[in-house]
């Protein structure tokens, strides 16, 4: 009886304690470096590089990749609470969330390492890729200034167009639309030829936010955009109404594919790769995705045509994925050494070629494919909300993007959406002041 009870107790305790993640490295120093990330599509390449590193240094690097991204994000938060974060991890979130991780002491400030040897490591990266991970002096999150992650790759989000379908609709595939009028005309010509317009993952609202931010920069400039976030400019301002009108114009001129508002990006990518839509609003990662779906796809890349001539057109971009070092890891220095190697020229070129993504290390640019070079050319036009020292309330972002969905389905006017968003903004500011 006693044996049986002891066994039962042991099983219970084992099952309870077994629920804790066993591979976190907050407390224990070991020869193994553990990396958590969400990029499951790069597992093979990551493992190949890990093997190379082991052969070179004898240090074991273990990549643990988790999908979907939502589940990964929750895993990271849970690990942070239980102090079980691995040596290296990525955070898939806005700057407000990243700042919480930093303030809780989970992320190492890489400034001292970046500045070593006359800033050699820092200088290897695109400045815009580093900016996404940089907290400036006086940031609203009250984070100690510094660079808190090493970028693994860079990306930007642009308009992709199918050259064959453009030709079919009587459009010149070598001269895509350059201004707003031409862009609207393109929509009508595609519609007349029975071809669907633009597809994008607008069911995942962040992609709507991305295009809306592009046009906000173009219509009102960065300063006014930031002033809106700070609450100094109202969303009911005419410039914001113009931003919302961009989407109404696109809808009215048949630029948007049927059902775009509930479309997930994977579906949008399938439609574009299968030549069922002539335009796609997608990130530079699409080169790899389209290649996997249809290697013969004949497409070009263009900046979204500007709506206004007041300010230059900007596109979302910067660091695609970044790696953070656990500030509590006993392997800190070893981990930083690995990251330096991992983001060095040769490894970056290898990763870029194998996964068809843009490298974060600018020294490895010469070795990437021509189609990716087209994306790189527009890196100067890149901006990202994480580059700013301020961040919009999540509820306001949701109201803005859901409001745009309402415009696209013809339910609300740009003016109505502007007022709705401003009402949410006022409410959120009131709460924050309390």
């Amino acid at each position: 009886m006693i044996r049986f009870l002891s066994l039962a107790m042991f099983l219970v305790l084992a099952s309870v304690t077994g629920c804790a993640p066993g591979n976190g490295t907050d407390k224990v120093a070991s020869d193994k470096i553990t990396v958590w990330h969400w990029m499951t599509d790069r597992e093979e390449t990551f493992n190949e590089l890990a093997e190379k590193y082991k052969a070179l240094t004898g240090t074991d690097v273990q990549f643990e990749l988790y999908a979907p991204t939502d589940a990964y994000s929750e895993k990271i938060k849970g690990a942070a609470q239980t102090q079980m974060l691995p040596d290296v991890f990525g955070i898939l979130a806005d700057k407000r969330v990243i700042s919480s991780f930093i303030k809780a002491g989970h992320v190492l400030n890489l400034d001292p390492y970046m500045d070593m040897d006359n800033g050699r490591w820092k200088k290897a990266f695109y400045a815009k890729a580093l900016n996404v991970n940089r907290f400036m002096l006086g940031n609203e999150f009250e984070v100690v200034p510094g660079i808190y992650a090493a970028p693994l790759d860079v990306m930007n989000i642009q308009m992709i167009y199918n050259k064959d379908l453009f030709k079919k609709a009587g459009l010149d595939p070598e001269n895509p639309p350059r201004n707003w009028a031409e862009f609207l005309d393109t929509g009508n010509k595609l519609h007349a030829a029975g071809i669907q317009g633009m597809v994008s993952g607008w069911g995942e609202i962040w992609m709507i936010d991305c295009l809306a931010s592009n046009y906000a920069y173009n219509i009102m400039g960065e300063k006014k955009f930031i002033d809106t976030i700070k609450g100094k400019v109202s969303y009911a301002d005419q410039d914001w109404i113009d931003v919302f009108t961009v989407f109404k114009d696109m809808r009215d001129n048949n630029l948007l594919a049927n059902g775009i508002v509930t479309m997930v990006n994977k579906h949008a990518e399938q439609m574009f790769a299968n030549q069922r839509a002539a335009l796609a609003f997608n990130g530079s990662w699409c080169v790899n995705v389209y290649y996997g779906m249809n290697p013969d796809l004949n497409y070009g890349v263009m900046l979204p045509p500007a709506y206004s001539n007041k300010y230059p057109m900007k596109i979302w971009g910067g660091a695609g994925a970044s790696l953070m070092v656990n500030a509590r890891s006993k392997n800190r220095d070893k981990v930083v050494e690995f990251l330096k190697w991992f983001t060095a020229k040769d490894q970056q070129a290898y990763l870029a070629n194998k996964t068809r993504n843009l490298p974060a290390n600018k020294e490895s640019l010469g070795e990437i494919s021509p189609v990716l070079v087209r994306f790189v050319d527009d890196m100067d036009s890149v901006t990202h909300p994480n580059n700013l020292n301020v961040s919009e309330f999540p509820k306001v972002i949701e109201a803005r993007d859901k409001g745009i969905q309402s415009i696209v389905i013809g339910e609300k006017t740009p003016e109505e959406v502007a007022l709705d968003v401003q009402a949410v903004k006022i409410r959120e500011m009131g709460k924050a002041q309390k």
Partner: protein, 320 residues
């Protein structure tokens, strides 16, 4: 002398009785202790995985906390989250209405169909076993897979539904079914009913088969027709089963999530948002864990009230 030995005997008897009692009590205590030890693993698991999180949800709901910084630095806000939910969160109440709408559709159409099919299969028809298996197939499929399949059917550009409509001359009705605010919620409801009617079917069929056949024979002898037999024999005896199916349908449908994610993601706009998607939006999108916990409590209490009303109503129906 005689009295002394009698007293001695009595004392001995008392002592052995006491020792016997002590022994019995000891055995009883040991038995109780052993029983509790057997229950202990289950109690420990229950406390760890149910009670502790349950209590913590209440605790977190009183704090402004993002789930990342240590809880010790979370800000106590009292009932502010609850006040916000009841006074300044219209999206939450829209989402409740959407879940209620799908629940209403499900209660009427899904359970109606389930009852009809259960009545059919209850009779000795050819291939009844095969039908039972076929009807139970949709519930065992993953919600995400079902959602993706139906997405192909509803697709506005290359969907099967639009194709069929065009083929039968109703092409003017074609649309992006899931992106149209007039149809999106009902379309989600239809998929939910398709996926869920098998559960109701199985439970209702089990209920029907537990009704003694003699009652039907007696009703027949008394000259009752099919409708009268259904109304006066089947329905009264099936009330507990109807209650069970109704409660399960309400609880299951109000918590609809996977189909929403795979079909519409809550869009267009807020048109297919349901309580669970709003709770997750608060937790993931905004990192407002405390607020998400408060939403969860409000939602849980509402389900509790609905279930309570349902049980009381069924008791009344039984008495009648």
């Amino acid at each position: 002398m005689k009295n002394g030995s009698q007293t001695q005997i009595l004392m001995l008897e008392n002592r052995s009785l006491r020792s016997f009692r002590n022994n019995m009590e000891h055995r009883k205590a040991k038995k109780i202790f052993t029983n509790y030890l057997f229950v202990l693993p289950a109690v420990l698991l229950f406390c760890t995985f149910h009670l502790y999180p349950f209590v913590n949800v209440f605790r977190y709901s009183l704090f402004q906390w993002d789930g990342i910084v240590p809880f010790s630095s979370a800000q106590f806000v009292g009932l502010a989250h609850f006040k916000d939910i009841f006074t300044a969160n219209p999206q939450w109440w829209y989402s409740m209405w959407h879940a209620f709408y799908i629940t209403l559709l499900t209660l009427i159409f899904q359970n109606g169909l389930a009852l009809l099919l259960a009545l059919t299969c209850d009779r000795a028809i050819k291939g009844a076993k095969a039908y039972r298996m076929i009807f139970f197939l949709p519930p065992v499929l993953s919600g995400i897979v079902v959602g993706l399949i139906w997405q192909w059917i509803y697709d506005g550009n290359y969907g099967l539904l639009n194709y069929w409509l065009t083929n039968i001359g109703l092409g003017h009705l074609s649309r992006a079914w899931l992106a149209d605010p007039n149809t999106s919620l009902t379309c989600v409801g239809i998929v939910h009913m398709w996926k869920g009617f098998g559960w109701g079917f199985i439970i209702l069929l089990a209920g029907l088969q537990s009704i003694p056949r003699e009652l039907y024979e007696a009703a027949k002898v008394d000259g009752a027709g099919a409708w009268d037999t259904f109304r006066r024999v089947t329905v009264p005896l099936m009330v507990p089963v109807f209650v069970l199916v109704t409660i399960l349908t309400i609880l299951n449908t109000m918590q609809i999530y996977d189909l929403i994610v795979s079909l519409t993601g809550g869009g267009p706009g807020y048109h297919t948002e349901v309580p669970i998607t709003r709770i997750l939006a608060a937790m993931r999108g905004g990192s407002r864990l405390g607020y998400a916990c408060a939403l969860g409590i409000v939602f849980g209490l509402m389900l509790l009230v609905v279930s309570f009303i349902q049980i009381q109503a069924s008791k009344l129906a039984k008495q009648e």
